[in-house]
């Protein structure tokens, strides 16, 4: 067996998705919503939860590894820039190391302009 290829995940992030995530993820921070705090904040408008971007990395790894992603997966990421809706973002993974059934990928999330929003590594066992 060899390490699976991890598919890219592309998604349009609109404010309504961010609002739904605020409820489902129990993160009511006003900087993510249409609030005065968001417009007075560091980005001048609402920013999507970084966890929505990271969820796309998790989705990509789940698509490649199935339940093994939840059983054996790990990741280490940093957010580099905010995603400001509406924005189209793509999460992608490149195989970095394949040893003893453990596949490690470099992961990145970029917006449609090529700006990097998130970087890191993700790994899971396939054998």
């Amino acid at each position: 067996m060899t390490a699976p290829q991890v598919p890219s995940v592309t998604r349009r992030i609109e404010q309504d998705r961010v609002d739904r995530y605020a409820v489902a993820g129990r993160d009511p921070n006003p900087i993510h919503r249409e609030t005065p705090e968001a417009y007075a904040g560091p980005f001048g408008r609402p920013a999507a939860h970084g966890m929505i971007l990271l969820a796309m990395v998790s989705e990509a790894m789940g698509a490649a590894f199935g339940l093994a992603w939840a059983e054996t997966g790990s990741f280490k990421v940093r957010w580099r820039s905010p995603a400001l809706p509406p924005v189209t973002v793509t999460a992608s993974a490149t195989l970095k190391k394949d040893q003893d059934g453990l596949a490690t990928y470099e992961v990145v999330v970029q917006d449609e302009h090529g700006e990097t929003l998130l970087t890191g590594t993700a790994a899971a066992r396939y054998a």
Binding site: V23, P42, A55, A70, G73
Partner: protein, 136 residues
Amino acid sequence: MKTDLEFSDLRKGDTFAEFPLSVTADEVLAYLDATGESPAIWTQHVPPLFLDALVVAELLAQVTIPKGVMHTGQEHESHRAARIDEVLTVRMGVAALSEKRGVTLAAFEADLRDAAGEPVTTMRISVMVAPDGVTV
């Protein structure tokens, strides 16, 4: 043990009161609807990142986070998949805390265990707090 804290009260090594965490099937579906992921493989198990999101939410509930906070990093290791409706116990503490030129960097580590005390997930949440009015 810590509850109802101000961020400025935190010290490295502080621990929070343990708390239970369980996730229903409806909560998984709502989470997946929000993130856009298909529920196909999450009919019996919890998407691993949802556990991180809920622990971050609990951190926000237990600690009064100042304006200017940014979630800068996240680490996660799964030891096994968490099942829907399974009750886990979360232990969380302050793993790192430093301040430089008015910017505070903090890291929180959480350990999720099952009813038998076996590890399910460990994670590390990194945040940065800039002083009011400073954009970093």
